[in-house]
Amino acid sequence: MRCVSYELCAEKLKARLTKIMAALTVDITKAKLQSESIRNGLGRGLLEAGKQNKNVVAVTADLTESTNISLFAKAFPERFIQVGVSEQNLVTVGSGLAAFGKIPFVSSYAAFNPGRNWEQIRTTICLNDRPVKIVGSHTGISVGPDGATHQMLEDIALMRALPNMVVLAPCDSVEAEKATLAMATDLRPNYIRLARDATPIITLPDTPFEIGKAIVFVEGFDVTIIATGTMVYHALLAAERLKHHHISAEVINVSTVKPLDAETIITSVKKTRAVVTAEEAQINGGLGGVIAELLAERCPTIMRRIGMKDHFGESGKPNELLKHFGLDADHIVLAAQELIDRKG
């Protein structure tokens, strides 16, 4: 098995890292990164999409403020629909709006949307092929004190199983804004998963975003860390720490879980021959499952999956919970080291 050691590549790597980091992400080693909830990006993106296209409408189920579509609601009250606490109604009304040429963004907490209304999404949106934009906020255990009922972890598994559905999970508010604008012009049903807690802003205004494209944020040679959503920041932190152990990690941001950018991932994995996935979701059926399926068929590779391992969360502070459940940079570092040891 090919494994290029850090020493051999140190100079080349350093040069490339500097270049890549300057181009695609902010320097996360800086003392203070700006943080913002990912859903704020959705709010700004939706407002802009509403300005660009009068057919963009917003529907919510009693969660205007907390899903951050209040900016849109204030700017375009005639294009804002409040359905009350009725998530099944939320998506089926969305299907009807789309049937008449609208581009509806239907928003609620992900535990209910798509957690509660999955069958309606399956039949009236996916099978019916209507371009409804499903916004699920409050995903992951970093939802925190509200506890397990509101910490949506199964949404990736639920949504990626649906034919026709596009599944997006932006890594910060800047990327969420771009993703929202891209959704407004995409003709397919889309799902976007958002997080509640403030997340470090790691991408730049000109970092590219395209539905269906994964981006290598950091180039490396010894291990590929494939992350989505809030865990991309932890993956970047882990790559920095691994440097101190003379391990060169490649970090890929998978902001589109489906359709998956298989080529970017296979290209990286053929080079590194070791994979760690990282997500704030159930690894069974989540990103970990997605990558395991891909690699088992096309490029069998040793891998470790960081994420929720077939159990529910609980109340606590976001950072406490991430640490408690092993969803942080330290656990990514340990997993990477273990794989490097196995490669020998």
Partner: protein, 291 residues
């Protein structure tokens, strides 16, 4: 079309349904037959539509929410000229546009995909809200639902929303045939007082005999004149209407003629034949009454 012509059309559609279901070897008989008069009235009198241009942007919208009764819609569409009548015999077969439950993307003119119950009224609300945003007031949205379907919470979520936004261009039609898959509705899950329920949700309620075509046409005309609130027509129908051994019997809800080993029913090989014979007799009666 005259009333007699419409009644003959409904009889033809019923015969189509029997032939389709027997040929398919599965499907829902009772509701499809019971709705034949309503679908005849819709496609041949009430709806503004163009079979040669199913996407015509001035058309009325017809949503079939209880998708399991789609054989009646397929037959009405074929007879109206949407597609060749011979295609009806492809129902439920591999590669057919006539899926067991309707799929919009396969067959132009269906408006939506349905089968899982309780979703049609919400979609009508979405369409009505979109029409309002576009300042369209002259197009109507008809939604056909079953009574068993009203067990679904999603229906009542939509009922509240339509009242909140005063969606006056929605006309819902409930096929009140008093049966569902497991038995009589009032035993499986009591719905009464149905009229009072809808009225308390802010709807204008009209009750009719849903097997009487002039009553269906009149109720829809009345419904179109009520513009300040959504309208629901509770259409009392006979499940299995036109086939004596099927009428009022919940066991024919999800069973096709030719397949049912049901106590007291004609032998399987005779079921479709007897049904068609009765419908032809009915046809003769309509014709002789018209003379």
């Amino acid at each position: 079309m005259t009333v007699e012509e419409l009644e003959l059309k409904a009889d033809t559609i019923r015969q189509d349904i029997i032939k389709m279901l027997e040929h398919a070897g599965s499907g829902h008989s009772a509701g499809s037959l019971g709705l034949a008069d309503i679908f005849t009235a819709l496609y041949f009198d009430i709806l503004k539509h163009d079979p040669k241009n199913p996407d015509w942007n001035e058309r009325d919208i017809l949503i079939l929410s209880n998708g399991h009764t789609v054989p009646v819609r397929y037959a009405a569409m074929a007879r109206a000229g949407y597609f060749p009548v011979e295609e009806l015999m492809t129902l439920r077969q591999l590669g057919s546009r006539l899926q067991g439950h309707p799929e919009r993307v396969r067959l132009p003119g269906l408006e939506t995909t349905s089968g899982p119950l309780g979703c049609g009224l919400s979609q009508a609300c979405g369409i009505a809200l979109a029409m309002r945003m576009d300042n369209i007031t002259h197009r109507w949205i008809y939604v056909v639902m079953s009574d068993g379907e009203l067990d679904e919470g999603n229906v009542w979520e939509a009922a509240m929303l339509a009242n909140k936004y005063r969606l006056g261009n929605i006309i819902a039609i409930v096929d009140r045939n008093n049966i569902q898959l497991d038995g009589p509705t009032e035993i499986v899950m009591p719905l009464e007082d149905l009229k009072a329920k809808w009225e308390s949700f802010g709807w204008y309620v009209i009750e009719i005999d849903g097997n009487n075509i002039p009553e269906v046409i009149h109720a829809c005309a009345l419904g179109r004149s009520i513009v300040d609130k959504p309208v629901i027509i509770i259409a009392h129908t006979i499940p299995g209407k036109g086939v004596d051994y099927m009428e009022f019997d919940y066991r024919w809800h999800g069973t096709p003629p030719g397949l049912a080993d049901i106590a007291g029913m004609p032998p399987k090989a005779e079921q479709a034949k007897i049904a068609l014979r009765e419908l032809r007799t009915l046809r003769g009666k309509i014709e002789s009454e018209a003379d």
